[in-house]
Symmetry: C2
Subunit: 134 residues, 2 copies
DNA sequence: TTGACTAATGTAATAACATCACATATCGAG
DNA sequence: CTCGATATGTGATGTTATTACATTAGTCAA
């Protein structure tokens, strides 16, 4: 069970910035948005992000070097499934979902091959429904 | 059917470097290995990589900012499945595989959500069998 | 209270990854 | 040969991430 983590000042600022954002933000974009709050160096952002990632409150999108607030904060501890992201390259919107069958298939491959997985990235890039019809 | 692409000089050099490598290489590592062949700037590597990626001869591993020669050059054009990579964080070895069920599940999600996918990244990081028992 | 320990923060410098802008060269079609 | 398309050379710049070290703030036992 994910106990509500006590966030420090910087962690709170970074998390709120991501939560308010429409889409994923780069660490440097976060930094710029927090200059008014006293942020001056990338490390302040990266350190906060590291903790927020640990807590499962934020996800890193590897394919675009950006970060996004988790869309389903409550579910993560219950289900151990792998999380997939669909990232719209037009509007930046990110949809987060989990598929048990994909999770199971990946586990089967790793089991059969003696591979101990620690982290799995599934990112689908393309154009979302809204942007596709526009 | 993948027609054998005529590679240019730089493309050949970059591809051979990746083919000889044990594991994935960063663009800058490739650059360093090709200094003796006259390479001087990152762009020479990135331009060659761009074409090799187009041709499907090389893959980019988004989660580690590195590139690897395709392990199954013949199959890629025949089967349109998504390709997954298992990356060992100890020894760097990469295993490339394709799973029809995963491909299908992803397609189902995108279809149901009106998402037009252009590229999908599936990367499993962990420890390979050899390193796990060592 | 003090001292000692730990977590969090501040800051500068540097490393690592990637692209832009512009010049030059190479090669085949007409 | 001349033109256009593709490939290459080069420096500067942009973007992302980490290292190293100094400082501050909370915790707790003596
Ligand atoms: Zn989430
Ligand atoms: Zn969109
Ligand atoms: Zn391949
Ligand atoms: Zn290994």
């Amino acid at each position: 069970m994910t106990t509500a983590h006590e966030l420090t000042k910087n962690q709170t600022l970074v998390f709120n910035t991501l939560s308010r954002a429409e889409g994923p933000l780069s660490a440097y974009t976060i930094l710029d948005q927090l200059r008014g709050d006293g942020f001056r160096a990338p490390l302040q952002v990266y350190r906060a992000l590291e903790k927020l990632l640990d807590y499962g409150m934020v996800h890193r999108l590897e394919s675009i070097n950006a970060f996004v607030a988790c869309a389903h904060p409550h579910n993560h501890s219950h289900n151990h499934g792998m999380i997939a992201f669909a990232i719209c390259e037009k509007c930046g919107q990110v949809s987060e979902f989990s598929d048990d069958i994909i999770t199971q298939r990946v586990r089967e491959w790793t089991t059969q091959n003696g591979f101990k997985q620690t982290k799995t990235t599934i990112e689908i890039r393309g154009v979302c429904a809204a942007c596709g019809t526009a």
